[in-house]
């Protein structure tokens, strides 16, 4: 180990330190709040870039390893380490949170609490990606989910959903549409998932007969095939909820639509990836036979996700809902890539996590800007914004193009790899829904772009303006990243490959 600096701990805990600082030192000083947040997330970002560059892809495996005992009798250790896959996710997280800090620069109400919660949440996210101890991973997972309730509940926005259909009574009873509803739904749904994860983790612990929750120790254990199957299923459901698998995805549209900008960015951009990451890292990584046995399920559900999400997105008139459903669709691609159990597919899956994270972060940042200026999310009312907000229009278009998998954006690389993986997998037909999904994406994304930014200016809005000042930072940075990684995907995939190939090698593929 050449790095004695606990770089992962620093990355992980820096935002938390920021949260504490914000909470206790910056009372009623909004600028200080922002600067502290920026500084701490900035440090994490710089460190994650450093780690990314310093990662030795020749050696591969888990690097920047840290460990100390937390609760020795149960074998809980604070154990951190990253490989190419998690490192990319860490990088994604730091990109999105830094952008998120900028994107929420204009939050006025109770900004101190807002930033504190946001930063605490980010620590959870980093923690999940860095943890090599399943228990600590679970801890961080919970930390990443909970602040969401207050973040959405306090700073969110309420949409309009009219209770209709045969279940209208149920909607009326649950209070659908309000931000409180969305916040509750999201939080509880994700915690529901975490219940499954917990059972899975305990099952591993018990079945392994170990006194440790360490990922590496579990990896060295081979579990009974029967156990592998059900535990994988449990992990799939648990993590899958966060990844938005159909039909357990309905928290996502409501939650993302109601959440404030930075939270939507972070949630759709990073947290949903936690789910997919969990399925790949924990599910496939530890339960290879279970993964192979259940790949058909994962892939089939993913196919439904892709097409169903795209069609649902097309049906929406609320801008945020469109983006939220597009996340459901894209997470389907992520899961599909993973389910192919091929090098191309898995690389595509991980790269899609990154690409979609940046892209959806950009989307939500832009939608936040549009919403801030128009105070409306109603697409049919909008029109012709391209003239007054050309910058936003451009960035939105680029995001949209990445979303529909246009080459030279990172979305393309991810999608083509997924396609390739799908065709090489045991279930070739998966290619069809995947491709259909991207075509449908082209339809709804361009339709939205056309409706909002093109055409004659809408009579409903006056005095609109383009983004300003710090708002640009997030938009421009994310846009550049989308294009940059689209053109030079090798710098990400090369690293990811060092992690996915050993993972695949453990699978008992015929």
């Amino acid at each position: 180990m050449t790095y004695t600096l606990p770089i992962l701990s620093l990355i992980t805990w820096m935002p938390f330190i920021g949260a504490l600082l914000v909470m206790f030192t910056a009372r009623h000083r909004p600028l200080a709040v922002r600067l502290i947040s920026l500084a701490t997330t900035g440090v994490s970002t710089v460190l994650s870039v450093v780690a990314y560059v310093a990662y030795d892809s020749e050696a591969a495996g888990f690097q920047f390893y840290e460990k100390f005992a937390l609760v020795p009798p149960l074998g809980i250790n604070y154990e951190l380490g990253v490989d190419g896959m998690s490192l990319l996710m860490v990088l994604l997280t730091s990109i999105i949170i830094t952008a998120g800090v900028f994107a929420s620069w204009t939050v006025q109400v109770r900004s101190q609490e807002f930033y504190a919660l946001l930063l605490a949440l980010v620590t959870g996210v980093y923690g999940v990606f860095c943890s090599l101890d399943l228990f600590v991973l679970f801890l961080f997972y919970e930390l990443a989910v909970l602040p969401m309730y207050l973040l959405i509940g306090i700073w969110g926005s309420t949409g309009e959903v009219r209770p209709r259909g045969i279940f209208a009574w149920a909607f009326r009873e649950t209070g659908v549409g309000t931000k409180e509803y969305a916040a509750m739904k999201l939080t509880l749904y994700l915690l529901f998932g975490s219940a499954f994860i917990l059972v899975g983790i305990f099952a591993l612990w018990v079945e392994a007969g170990q006194s440790s929750f360490s990922f590496l120790a579990f990896e060295a254990t081979s579990f009974e095939p029967g156990v592998q199957r059900w535990v994988f299923f449990v992990f799939y459901v648990g993590f899958g909820i966060l990844a938005g698998i159909w039909p357990l995805h309905t928290w996502s549209p409501d939650g993302h639509a109601s959440a404030p900008t930075a939270v939507s960015m972070l949630h759709a951009g990073v947290l949903m990836k936690l789910g997919a990451y969990g399925v790949v890292r924990v599910g496939m990584g530890l339960l290879p036979e279970g993964a192979v046995d259940l790949a058909w399920l994962v892939g089939t559900i993913a196919c439904i996700n892709v097409v169903y999400g795209a069609l649902s997105a097309m049906a929406q008139t609320d801008l945020k809902y469109v983006i939220a459903y597009s996340s459901v669709s894209h997470m389907g691609l992520v899961m599909l890539g993973a389910a192919t159990l091929t090098e191309a597919g898995l690389n595509g899956s991980v790269f899609q996590m990154f690409a979609h994270g940046v892209m959806t972060g950009l989307f939500f940042a832009l939608v936040g800007l549009v919403y801030e200026k128009t105070h409306s999310r109603d697409i049919p009312k909008m029109g012709g914004f391209g003239r007054v907000m050309p910058g936003i229009a451009t960035a939105f278009t680029i995001g949209g193009l990445s979303s529909l998998g246009l080459p030279a954006t990172s979305g393309f690389v991810a999608e083509i790899l997924t396609f390739m993986g799908a065709w090489r997998s045991d279930h070739r037909w998966w290619l069809i829904p995947a491709v259909v999904g991207t075509f449908l994406t082209a339809i709804y994304v361009l339709r939205v772009v056309k409706q909002i930014f093109w055409g004659p200016p809408s009579p409903h809005f006056h005095h609109l303006e383009d983004a300003r000042g710090p708002e640009w930072v997030a938009v421009v940075a994310l846009t550049i990243i989308i294009v940059f990684f689209g053109m030079v995907p090798g710098i990400a995939i090369g690293l990811v490959d060092t992690a996915t190939v050993p993972l695949l090698a453990r699978l008992p593929l015929p």
Binding site: G165, L311, N347, G455, P489
Partner: protein, 609 residues
Amino acid sequence: MRILVWLPLLVLGLPFASFLLLAVVPPLRRTGRGAGVISILAIAGAFLGALGVWTQGFRTESRWEWIPADGGPMATVGILVDPLSAAMLALITLVSLLVQVYSLDYLHDEPARGLGRYYAYHSLFAFSMLGLVLSPTFLQMFIFWELVGLCSYLLIGYWYDRPAAARAAVKAFWVTKLGDVGFVVGIVMLWGTTGTFDFTTLFAMARENQIPAEGLTLTLFLIYLGAVGKSAQFPLHVWLPDAMEGPTPVSALIHAATMVTAGVFLVTRAQPLFLLAPDVMGIIAAVGAFTALLAASMACVETDIKRVLAYSTVSQLGYMMTAAGLAAAAAGFFHLLTHGVFKALLFLGAGAVIHAVGTNDMFRMGGLGRAMPQTAIVFIVGTLALAGVPPLAGFFSKEAILAGVWQHGATTLFVILALTAFLTAFYMFRAVFLVFFGRAHAAGHPHDAPWLMRGPLWILAILTVAIGLRYAIGGHGDDAHPAPGWLAPFSVVLALSGIALAWAMYQRGAIEPAALSRALRPIDFMARRRYGLDALYGGLYQAFILGFSGLIGWIDRYFVDGILNVLSAWTLRGGDGLRRIQTGRAQDYLYGVAFGVLLVVVWFHWWAQ
């Protein structure tokens, strides 16, 4: 050696650099004409480079890793220079250069900001198109294929606040994307069986029969679908006429000379593979011929001058595809090149006319020959070339195709194409007579365009003539398909009869157009309604995609999410119901205790045994 790589890279890099500059430096973009100059300089440089490459006859191939993988890259990018791509390079850079110069004056009324955007798109287009033709792999070709589609989308929607333009741009993107879906599936399938995207490798495998025949037909058909979309073949041709909502120079460049020919280029480039699938080749040829005739018939009833040219483009693309499908790829490619030149000329000429009179409707023009003689002359040169009148460029290329078709023994196709040639001459001269001859309709004082616009027109006109003359003097370059002797007179007759018919109808008035319409009522009726295809697609889109999405959206919101809400509502109600056992009466609580005892005993019996 080094220059072999660097020169094509320079050709590729200059427009890209220009694009980057314009995209990343907003002040530069906002200068408008300044941005135009940068872009023009870049493309001029590229043109010179392309000329160098073309004339020197470089052949080179280079690759770099793009998507790494364990045990060798999964995908590479690079450049492949051979005569095919070199010729395309020259054509693309030339037309791009001329169109960009032309645009400088054509769009001088545009705000500087918009103009900067326009040139940025143009640079990007040039880069993408060059990248496409230089691709050594299917994947890279697909990448640039999509990028040119993007540029097309952006440029059609250049006047994005016009609803028609916005609609047309989106339509163009969707329809071509539909074809591209096939393309991408095709190349992925090809990769699945061969493990490579690389042309050279694939061709080598094809030569040695190492490509498994199973599924190859389907694979190649899917790849061909990409060409169907991009090259506006039936049934995906519907986007091209609508694409005329973009600025005219864009139409000239993208929707006539370069991008739409990408499909033909693809089939030509991958000819060794397509030859392995005769069925697909047959489809390509048949669809091409059918498209040619169909588009020609629609052009005959069109009143919008640009749309006439658009249909003629579709029609000519059908020609090229037919040739490609009948293994006469060289002829097709030849037509591609000549067509690129004179169709660009025609579009730019039409642009000059539109610029002058402010309308697209041919019936509101007339007598412009006197008002703008230079434009008229170059337009007529282009028209003659398109109609296939010797010794202009179009005659030779068209004849090469007809010869190829005849040689192949596809009589039906030959008849269709001959008919199309006749119709082409007819509708083109219909346009000429309506626009440049007859009575002047237009108000105001139309006059010839400024020199920046005229210059490119003349250059293209001269080229049209020059290429024609070169072949007239030097004979056919293509000896693979020696034309039968009667073919040349036959095509001249076809062209002249078409011209004569147009003259009789629109100049002379000898034949009443309405009478002819009545005589050919069913065809006329259908052609005027574009054979109902647009309506059909519109209906399918509305009913099928939007309707289905509406259904799914409803299901998701009110059923899938509904079930979740029902579960939570049930939970809440369950809690409310359950708390009613808490009646407040002490005896009921005592019941609870008694029940508890019973429960414990009963459970114990159940489970302990």
